[in-house]
């Protein structure tokens, strides 16, 4: 294994993005909207494609606008379907994001004649290529750092409101907190984070990092502030572990498992998502074991 400067930047970018996702993710989790991240990251595809078709460049601004609009559209239309058709939340969300994603795939295929745009790249990301940059610090590091700071600041400012809107939306409303606006705001922030991360690390890392660190942290703490802190730690750890595995151990394991010698290193974004899952399932097992054996152990010691 050879560690270069590029590897450092990959880990830094991955960690910053993962932590940026973990912050709104905790509140999505508390709002029982975990699938919204998945939905938005599918639904923004037509927004991106239209942005490309209109502007004709990979300029991030039209892309950002299109994607945020697509995210809001998903939220609003699935709400209408849910209320009018009395279809449950998940299904109405599914209808909207699947349709938009299909539209996006077709638009991208049409746009491909004009702009260099690969749906695969949008989906899985190309973290390894994104950090190659002539600047001392790659642009993408600044970008993901900025979105992390923004999300942390928003969470700090609106902490009480977000918490109340998640746990008791009725009480929040009664005490003058516009929980509807808080929810919309959360959707917008999620869409924004998704899009910024999209370009660099791909949607899969975003979907994973929105939910898995928060869920892991919920095994470790029962306070919202504690969950937020631990989710940041888990996000950081999975980014570091993920890249380490991707360039060293994972190809070796895979080679051993399948009996092949011709495998190169794996996608870092994919391995970061997988390591987050590894951390989650390990801690889940540990917490179960602790629940089962700690009482008897304590009894024996006392």
């Amino acid at each position: 294994m050879i560690w270069t400067e590029l590897d450092t930047w990959i880990v830094v970018t991955g960690a910053l993005t993962a932590m940026a996702c973990a912050v709104p993710g905790v509140f999505l989790l508390l709002n029982k909207q975990s699938m919204l991240g998945d939905a938005i990251s599918h639904a923004v595809l037509p927004g991106l494609a239209i942005g490309f078709l209109v502007s004709g460049t990979r300029d991030p601004l039209p892309m950002l606008v299109g994607a945020v609009l697509a995210g809001l559209f998903t939220g609003v239309v699935s709400g209408v379907i849910e209320r009018r058709g009395r279809v449950e939340t998940g299904a109405s969300l599914g209808v909207v994001f699947c349709s938009l994603f299909a539209l996006g795939l077709i638009l991208i295929r049409i746009a491909a004649d004009h702009v260099d745009l690969d749906p695969g790249c949008v989906l899985y990301g190309a973290l390894e290529l994104a950090v190659i940059d002539s600047a001392a610090v790659p642009r993408i590091v600044w970008q993901s750092g900025a979105i992390l700071l923004l999300n942390l600041a928003l969470a700090a400012v609106f902490f009480k409101e977000l918490q109340l809107a998640a746990f008791d939306p009725r009480f929040a409303k009664a005490s003058g907190i516009p929980s509807g606006w808080i929810q919309q705001g959360l959707t917008i922030v999620t869409a924004l984070t998704t899009v910024v991360a999209f370009e660099s690390v791909g949607s899969i890392l975003v979907i994973a990092m929105l939910i898995v660190p928060g869920a892991t942290a919920m095994l470790l703490s029962r306070r919202v502030s504690g969950v937020l802190f631990w989710s940041l730690v888990v996000a950081l750890c999975s980014a570091v572990l993920g890249h380490l595995l991707a360039i060293s151990a994972a190809p070796a394991w895979l080679g051993w498992l399948t009996g092949r010698q011709d495998l190169g290193s794996l996608s870092s974004a994919g391995m970061m998502a997988a390591s987050a899952g590894g951390i989650f399932f390990t801690l889940l097992a540990a917490s179960r074991l602790a629940q089962r054996f700690l009482p008897t152990l304590q009894k024996r010691i006392l």
Binding site: L29, K32, Q33, S34, M35, D38, H42, I81, R84, G85, R86, V87, E88, G90, A91, G94, V95, C98, S99, F101, A102, L103, L105, I106, R109, G120, Y124, G202, I204, L205, I207, A208, L210, I211, V212, A215, M218, A250, P251, L254, T258, G259, R260, D262, L263, G264, S265, L266, S267, A269, G270, M271, A273, A274, A276, G277, F280, F281, L284, R288
Partner: protein, 437 residues
């Protein structure tokens, strides 16, 4: 263009026939299974399942050479997909059982983690020489045209199996969806039934890999059943509509992709389904937006008419049978124009006679009996609510023609006596000096 259109539509190529039959049957099976999934509020499980198949597919691909199987064999990849799909479902159940996390969190965790692992392995395959990964791309985005006739037979048999089981166990699945607790206490094998339903969903997902691909397989499990909700409340009709919609979307999608080469077939199929959904949302017979709007307008019109009739009757009750517009206007916060047009309407319908002056009017025989019926019902229901609200407020049905149609005669007599007492109290206010007994 026209020529190729007919060529596709008349199924002149063997390949088109195979692809179309496979895609249509898959659409119908997905619609059927998706209907139950929708009613069990688990629609997004299909999404998680679809994504969770990727690590199995990539592993199967990498292992193929070791077992001496062609890495392009769909059946071999489908086996891997099934194993990892079932593992993903197991992981969802495990998370749900062993932690405080909710369903949606469990679905999102399994989806992203499994898909991430799959992407990691896929990236290794993409680096292999010879562009072997192209065979896997068709499973991610879906490409029914790559179906061999062997694959099509598999799709056909699996879809028939799903449809057959759904038809055969329709009653059992219905019970499972609507009243699981009752089914459990009545001694139905709820867990095996649930497992069977999930098994069918896995099967549909695997079949769908080749048609619409991993990423969009959930679409055909969700969109046609959700569209069918707008057409009927009857589960049988809903399942039928969903199956038809699924089959039709696949048909339209395949035909469109034959005519527009270069566009992804899976996405076209899903877009056709989305189109069908949009149409259903607008003009669905049961809950479509248009029908709802019409019903709401009809209801508010009837309500206004009843209010006007009652107000006129009450004015006449207090004073002269001939009532002026101002008197009625004072009864409720009406807009003058609205009231005037409604009164004109009533006169046209022969319920009112207007005085020659035009500003005052009188209920005629038919109008009087209609107004009397409305006022009586209204007052009796009010008394009923005053006296019986603690017992059975749910029985109040203000739309019933006569209160007797809902409540029995003795209760109505009692209410009428109460109403008489009230009326007397109102006529002669009680002596304020006298203590109440």
């Amino acid at each position: 263009m026209m020529e190729s259109f007919w060529r596709v539509l008349l199924l002149q190529d063997h390949n088109t026939r195979v692809v179309m039959a496979g895609a249509c049957l898959f659409g119908a099976a997905a619609g059927l299974a998706g209907t139950f999934l929708l009613l069990r509020k688990r629609s997004l499980l299909g999404d998680t399942l679809g994504h969770a198949t990727l690590p199995g597919i990539t592993l199967a691909f990498l292992l193929a050479e070791t077992f001496g199987i062609s890495p392009r064999s769909f059946l071999w990849l489908a086996l891997g997909a099934t194993i990892s799909g079932v593992a993903g479902m197991g992981a969802v159940l495990l998370i749900r059982k062993t932690s405080r996390l909710k369903d949606d969190a469990a679905l999102a965790i399994v989806l992203s983690v499994f898909f991430g692992a799959g992407i990691a392995m896929l990236s290794a395959i993409q680096q292999l020489p010879g562009g072997q990964a192209a065979g896997l791309e068709r499973l991610i985005y879906g490409n029914p045209a790559s179906m061999t006739s062997g694959d099509a037979w598999f799709v056909l048999l699996a879809s028939l199996l799903v449809a057959g089981v759904c038809g055969f166990l329709f009653k059992e699945f219905t019970l499972l969806c609507f009243d699981e607790a009752y089914a459990l206490t009545a001694g139905w094998p709820v867990r095996p039934l649930d497992a069977l339903l999930m098994g069918l969903v896995v099967l549909v997902t695997i079949v769908g890999l080749q048609t619409v691909g991993i990423l969009l397989v959930v679409a055909l499990l969700v969109i046609p059943p959700a569209a069918a909700r707008f057409w009927s409340d009857d589960l049988r009709a809903m399942a039928l509509v969903a199956a038809t919609a699924g089959a039709l979307s696949s048909l339209v999608g395949v035909v469109a992709s034959a005519l527009l080469p270069g566009l992804p077939t899976g996405a076209l199929i899903v877009l056709s389904a989305a189109l069908f959904f949009g149409v259903s949302l607008l003009i669905g017979k049961k809950r479509g937006l248009v029908i709802r709007l019409l019903l709401e307008r009809e209801a508010s019109r009837r309500l206004r008419r009843e209010h006007v009739l009652r107000a006129i009757f009450e004015c006449a009750e207090d004073g002269q049978p001939v009532v002026t517009l101002e008197e009625v206007l004072a009864k409720r916060p009406w807009k003058k124009n609205e009231l005037r047009s409604e009164i004109g309407q009533l006169a046209d319908d022969g319920l009112l006679t207007t005085e020659p002056s035009g500003t005052s009017f009188q209920l005629n025989g038919r109008g009087d009996s209609e107004a009397r019926r409305l006022v009586r019902n209204h007052r009796l229901w009010e008394i009923y609510l005053l006296t019986h609200a603690d017992v059975a407020p749910a029985r109040v049905d203000r739309d019933a023609d006569l209160i007797e149609h809902v409540l029995d005669q003795r209760l109505v007599d009692e209410l009428e006596d109460l109403l008489d007492e009230k009326a007397r109290e109102r006529l002669v206010p009680g002596n304020p000096e006298k203590k109440l007994p």
